[in-house]
Symmetry: none
Subunit: 228 residues, 4 copies
DNA sequence: GAGTAAGCGAGACGGTACGTCGCGTCTTCGT
DNA sequence: ACGAAGACGCGACGTACCGTCTCGCTTACTC
């Protein structure tokens, strides 16, 4: 059936050890502080072994993050607003985790941190880029299914393009993290989904509630309690 | 008033020569192919001189791009949809210019290219990041003014948050370029604005036209003529 | 008596295949171009197998050369000058074969080539060195016998030390190949023996004949002012 | 006159520090124990700086030895036998110094040690080889002058080829060190010169004196039957 | 017009990390 | 045991590029 075993098999523990060591360095010291040499040493692994599995520091970093984030699946509760908000929040949480890596906690830096470097890694190596795009395609296809079903239920307008909607939602999060430095949190995710669905909800749902717009100027105040 | 002139003044031509040389390398060979040593040599300038003006390769790269892109101001024609679409298209054009740098022209690569590296540069150096954020804040403030005025004219719903709207619009573009690799073009800009304004238009405008949705699957076909 | 056969016997063809592959690489690309991994692959043999027979790349190289050169025995015709010249020429031929390995033919390079690396191999590993020394001791003992017999016949002076004579003869060849880069050929071998035997011949032979020195041009010593 | 000073001049102390550190490692641990990384560290110099001056470990090693040996000039006392013997002894001394490098002092190893590696270095890099050959050409030209003058004085036979004579003399030393592993010392140098000059001395000088052969025990040649 | 403060060209230097190379060992399965 | 296959450990090598420093020279402004 499967290919017969040829040669010495890869030591499964090595992945574990290396990724653990790399994760620690990446989170503690940021992307620039991640050194292949040190990772190898700390993991008790020869550099060549490491390079046999991850041909580049960038590949290693990507693997670390993929390993850290694990699987975040999308749930379908039947309430499209809630599901999308959850999805956005998951993305936001992941971004925030990476954003603050390598910086003294508390330090509310607006820098994109590791997130930007990972994106750049995708730009530097075609294979990483391709993998990332496949990954996003997969997740967005799931989310698109969500939207599709909601539309079929009549919750959303018939002419809605799920791809664009998702671009707008996820895009806003990435834009804030990578470009404007604005915070992304639960509250923002809610407002985002609300706004985006504003014109997408089927007419039956009528105009949106007026949404309390106090203190919108800074858009960073931590006390945005949100509204009904 | 200003500090009296001490010592030899800086040679004004140098900026020009260096930026030209750097731009060529950046566009021809991408970010990784941009080397300070080579730029200095090609520009006929000492590295010292170069570093006196741009303290870092990242700073130089940012300056190059800023110099290349020039000023793209936002116009207010009174037609909010058109103005926003124009704005988005300008952003898209700038992104596309950078995206393809360093790659064989025909090669329709989906990589984020230099864009990602610039974002990463902002993440590596706080001053670059801060400058970028200020820049975006300024431009978005202008765009927000556009939206505000449209709202006051009654074109848009009263409860619309301009910041979120802009996040969704610009965010979608960046998301596509940096994350999903999807193309951003005039057609996409139009559909994007249309979708985003869908629920934001005041009721008076009525439901959106059904919008021809043929061939939405690939979402990359170049011949998407769009509709009114 | 001898140990009973345990397990699978060694495949006799393997030596042949490996040595052939190694010889090709060694001759074509020189010592640095000889790689154990590649030899194994080209010979269709596992590295393990290879290392079971030759514990080191150096050992392999030595084996290759020994295999290439084969046996060069010393003949005793009764004419000491001729016999010694033949011996020297055999050595010279072997040196020349190795000297040019790894270099474009025709290219009259003066480098010592593989010869130097073999000598170094002997310096790196005591067993190789020991083997080489034993080998030379054996051959030189044969040659010393030649000299001894010639002396007993009265052809050579009674107080001649055969060891020193051989040092001078063979040494000159090695010196030229390894140190000065000068060529060693038939002509040189003749002149060498003639010169060395000059003072060693028994008086009865009288002064040496002027020795036809035509075509000494190949010898590149710049200060050859010629002699009477 | 000389080229105007361009750029920062090389720090002269660096050569000193590096060569000292390298010499220590080379002598203490042999050629294999010489590591560029460690030399750089021990000398307190960046590896790049080191590579800027010596492009290869081999080049560094050669420089170390050249620096260690210093200038050994050839003296002309008018007594050709003595002068040649002195020259040979100087060569022998230099060889012996290198031969024992990296080995416990008492250990009378017969290995060629560092000498072989230096010769190999010359074979690996054409520029090193060329330099070595030039160096030997220069020294041998001086020695050839010695011989020439002796011949003109009538001390040596008119038809003697100085190049061959020197090949035989120096060659014997190198041959012993690199090939047979026999020792080279003052005594051997004397016997060597005596033998070589045996037939080269002008007839007027008559047969050679029997040459005191005390303490030949160090010479390990197995077939030393002695002579009349 | 001498002094001086800076700019500039050239290139050495320090530093860090990277990725590579090749060797020789070890582990697995199959013969 | 041998053999094929290939992972692993190890050590060093040479490189790339960055950003700093040290020269000598030049250009202005200042006194």
């Amino acid at each position: 059936m499967s290919q017969a075993q040829r040669g010495r098999p890869r030591d499964a523990q090595i992945d574990e050890r290396v990724l653990r060591a790399a994760a620690e360095q990446l989170l503690r010291r940021g992307y620039g502080g991640l050194s292949v040499d040190e990772v190898a040493e700390q993991a008790g692994v020869a550099k060549t072994t490491l390079y046999r599995r991850w041909p580049t520091k960038d590949h290693l970093a990507i693997a670390v993050v993929a390993h850290l984030q694990g699987e975040d699946d999308i749930t379908d509760t039947g309430d499209i607003r809630r599901d999308l908000t959850d999805y956005m929040e998951k993305i936001a949480a992941a971004l925030n985790r990476l954003r603050s890596a390598g910086r003294p906690s508390g330090r509310d830096d607006r820098s994109a941190g590791v997130v930007a470097e990972l994106v750049a890694a995708g730009a530097r190596h075609d294979d990483i880029g391709e993998m990332g795009r496949r990954n996003y395609a997969r997740r967005n296809a799931l989310a698109a299914g969500l939207i599709e079903r909601a539309r079929e239920r009549g919750e959303l307008r018939a002419d809605l393009d799920p791809v664009i909607l998702l671009d707008q939602l996820a895009g806003a999060l990435y834009y804030r993290v990578l470009v404007t430095g604005a915070p992304v949190d639960r509250d923002y995710a809610e407002r985002l989904v609300t706004t985006a669905l504003g014109g997408a909800m089927a007419e039956a749902f009528g105009p949106l509630p007026p949404a309390d717009r106090t203190d919108r100027s800074a858009d960073r105040s931590p006390s945005q309690k949100g509204r009904s």
